[in-house]
Amino acid sequence: MNHDRDDEDPGLTRMLRAVRAEADPALWTRVRARIEARRRVPAPLAWAMRPTALAASLALLVASATLAFVLSTGSAVGTEEDYATLTEALVAERDAEATPVEVEPAPAGGAASDSGSGM
């Protein structure tokens, strides 16, 4: 179908053009009032209240909060073994203190005993 032709319908156009918006006498008064209200707000505050500025500061806040969270949890995790509860952690710590550390004596002569060379 070719829509590229001019299919204007004079009757339809006449009806469509007969409808108009009635003039709103208060429109300019309202616009002027809004302009005046904006003038009263200090410029830096008006700038900070712009949607873009608000969105940017919100994004910055979320990013810094996330970074702070990651850094704080990152420093706490990984220094010790993970335990499910505090009790487990305390028990594990006590056991570690009670168990004597066994040090293997160093082999004499430096040769392995089961090397089979002496037989």
Binding site: H3, L27, R30, R38
Partner: protein, 160 residues
């Protein structure tokens, strides 16, 4: 501006807000306006974009009541048409036309309002809507076909 906003939104208060916002935006942007586009198309584009945003948000609101009167609700007024066929009730026909416009998809509605109601040229409509002239003509063709179909029953009754 007001006619476009009211026809698109069918709500006089919302349309007033759109026009006010547009005027403030025009005032703010006026120093940077270099006239590459026509002033009318620039202003109409702002209105059309704001209306589209509002209509998109309105998808999630309740539908219109059955006795909705598009002309009265939107604050639009129909002038008497010269040489009107007296056999056809003009008021009823206009109400029917407005309902048919209301039923059009927003992209077709804005094209019809800009071209047929406000009398912008095809180039101006294309510039306002950011389309090619062929695309505007295509939308207008579909919109006019739908409007003619919606008005046919009343026209046939008037002619018999």
């Amino acid at each position: 501006m007001t006619t476009l906003a009211r026809t698109m939104l069918r709500d006089a208060d919302e349309a007033a807000d759109v026009v006010e916002d547009t005027l403030l935006r025009v005032r703010d942007a006026a120093p940077g306006f270099r006239g590459e586009r026509g002033l009318t198309t620039w202003v109409m584009r702002i209105v059309a974009n704001r209306c589209r945003d509002l209509l998109r948000r309105r998808k999630f609101t309740a539908g219109r009541p059955e006795d909705f009167d598009p002309l009265a609700e939107s604050g639009l007024r129909a002038e008497p048409i010269e040489g009107w066929d007296l056999a056809i009730d003009q008021e009823r026909m206009m109400a029917m036309l407005e309902r048919a416009i209301d039923a059009l998809p927003p992209d077709q509605r804005e094209a019809v309002v800009l071209r047929d109601r406000l009398g912008l040229s095809y180039d101006e409509v294309a510039e306002t809507l950011g389309l090619k002239v062929a695309a505007v003509k295509s939308r207008l063709f579909r919109a006019r076909t739908a409007l003619r179909a919606a008005l046919r029953p009343l026209g046939e009754r008037g002619s018999t």
